[in-house]
């Protein structure tokens, strides 16, 4: 418990928050990387998941995407991307982003597929029966009905990504993980614990934010 208190004391020191390499700068980097990774992952995963879910074909792709996603260690992806993209700047930025997108896409894709293809086939048939086109069926029936499960998945994935952003620091990128890597390397354990607390809090805030967003009527309303 002593080390935890030292971590809190490190956080309480205002000098650690400002300036180059301060908490505010690292928090900004962390949030930026998190937002970018989630955005790209959603842009990649949602359309594909929706389309194959609607077609109720391509389950093979969706399920295997999840399998590969679980099997690929983020660390290995990061290392591989690091070696490939050494010339890119900022240092280790793109490798970290790619590793996070690889982490986020498979579960998003799979669960979007599951959510959409899980909509009651009788309901879908009925919609077609009253004259809805395929696009209308997808956007006005399947998407609203699937949105609840999709939001829950996005929330889970977001928390995972938020906590994993810290990994980038191992390879030289910034973010809140810097405090863990630097604190460890220089025997500054209060800094290490402070960094860990910051990442945990960041992930919890993300969880809370997605939880609240999921309660917004606009995102839950079923419009048929």
């Amino acid at each position: 418990m002593g080390i935890f208190r030292q971590g809190l004391a490190w956080l309480a020191d205002g000098a650690h928050w400002v300036g180059a390499g301060g908490i505010l700068q690292r928090l900004g980097e962390h949030a930026e990387m998190f937002a970018l990774a989630m955005l790209i992952a959603l842009i990649v995963a949602l359309p594909v998941g929706l389309v194959i879910g609607h077609a109720r074909k391509g389950a093979f792709l969706a399920v295997n995407a999840a399998g590969v996603g679980r099997a690929l260690p983020t660390f290995a992806v990061l290392y591989f991307a690091y070696r490939l993209l050494l010339r890119t700047r900022p240092f280790a930025f793109w490798p970290t982003l790619i590793a996070l997108v690889f982490l986020a896409v498979p579960p998003l894709l799979t669960n979007t597929f599951v959510a959409v293809s899980g909509v009651d086939p009788d309901t879908v048939e009925a919609a077609r029966g009253i004259g809805m086109g395929e696009r209308q069926v997808l956007l006005r029936l399947e998407l609203p009905l699937a949105s609840s499960l999709m939001l829950d998945t996005t929330r889970t994935v977001a928390v995972q990504v938020a906590a994993t952003v810290g990994f980038g620091a191992v390879f030289g990128w910034g973010g809140l993980g810097r405090f863990i890597v630097d604190g460890f390397a220089s025997y500054d354990y209060p800094q290490l614990v402070g960094g860990a607390i910051l990442i945990a809090v960041f992930a919890l805030v993300v969880d809370l934010a997605f939880g609240l967003a999921g309660r917004l009527p606009a995102l839950r309303r079923v419009r048929v």
Binding site: G21, Y82, R83, L86, R87, R89, F91, A169, F171, G172, R178, V181, D182, F184, A185, S186, Y187, D188
Partner: protein, 306 residues
């Protein structure tokens, strides 16, 4: 289904056979040395980079030959991973007298013998002892590519001062706070405005980043074979910022007292190491991708230690 069952039965037999061999092995070990007191188990550790692993392999092999039951815990990240595990989990590890001293917050010097004495004073309460250092000095080196050296006219570390604001230094994460890295460049050389990019210590990754132009200056270990291979320019430490960093052995004091031959064995290895002969060993692992154990074994054999 039949095939599956056969697989499991084969697997089970294999496991039983292994168990039987293991038990058999144990009984022969105890049976072979009935009179002399059995040698204790010793765990040899090292950090991640090749040189540390090669020297740890040498320690492990001479101890094994002398009858110790040696367990190896190599590639334990960096000093911050290895040191807390000693002497409890790990009893023997290669160390560097100067960097060790800096991490213990002692006063560095260019004399490895006085550094060793300080190390021992600071380590005594932890139950650890550092042996007399070898002649192999692996200190920190600031290196640049030939192109960078020509462009900014760099030959020694003090040449960095006027151009520092244009350059990025790549080095281990602790460089920011390590007195022989950035703080030392500032206090001893008056170099400010250098951008810093944390990377892994004494690893090829730092050299890769230098080649890629992601960093302009790299802090490497002076015995890293890649320096010569790539033709990097080592900036002369003209104001003697770097301490002497001779390779030594850090050993559990309790083990040294209980088993006096441990000191003789490890000192025997250290006596053969020099700055000149450690570089090709590193090259064999880093560049030719040989196994550290093989490289260590060849070295010990040719020096009459195995």
């Amino acid at each position: 289904m039949v095939r599956k069952r056969r697989f499991w039965s084969t697997a089970a037999m294999l496991v039983m056979a292994l168990v039987a061999t293991a038990c058999g092995g144990k009984s022969t070990t105890t049976g072979s040395s009935p009179s002399s007191t059995p040698k204790p188990s010793v765990t040899v550790g090292s950090v991640t980079f090749s040189e540390s692993q090669i020297v740890a392999e040498m320690f492990a092999q001479v101890l094994t030959k002398a009858g110790y039951k040696v367990t190896k815990q190599l590639s334990l990240g960096q000093r911050a991973v290895l040191q807390p595990a000693m002497p409890g989990t790990i009893q023997v590890a290669p160390e560097y007298v100067g960097s060790l001293l800096a991490s213990l917050k002692g006063t560095k010097s260019s004399d490895p013998v006085s550094e060793t004495a300080q190390d021992n004073a600071l380590l005594a309460p932890k139950g650890l002892t550092v042996l007399d250092p070898s002649a192999a000095n692996d200190t920190n080196a600031f290196v640049v590519t030939k192109a960078t050296a020509t462009r900014y006219n760099l030959a020694k570390v003090s040449d960095l001062k006027p151009v520092a604001s244009k350059l990025t230094l790549g080095g281990p994460p602790e460089c920011n706070t390590n007195p022989v890295c950035l703080p030392g460049l500032k206090s001893v050389y008056g170099i400010t405005g250098l951008k810093f990019q944390p990377i892994v210590a004494c690893d090829t990754a730092t050299a890769n980043a230098l080649d890629a132009g992601s960093i302009d200056i790299a802090e490497l270990c002076s015995t890293q074979s890649i320096i010569a291979k790539k033709g990097y320019v080592v900036l002369d430490d003209d104001k003697n910022l770097q301490p002497a960093d001779n390779i030594t052995a850090e050993v559990s004091t309790a083990l040294l007292i209980a088993q006096p031959d441990v000191k003789t064995l490890l000192a025997g290895v250290l006596s053969k190491l020099t700055t000149a002969n450690i570089v090709p060993l590193n090259a064999a692992v880093d560049i030719d991708h040989k196994d550290a154990a093989t490289v260590a074994k060849d070295f010990l054999t040719s020096n009459g230690l195995l």
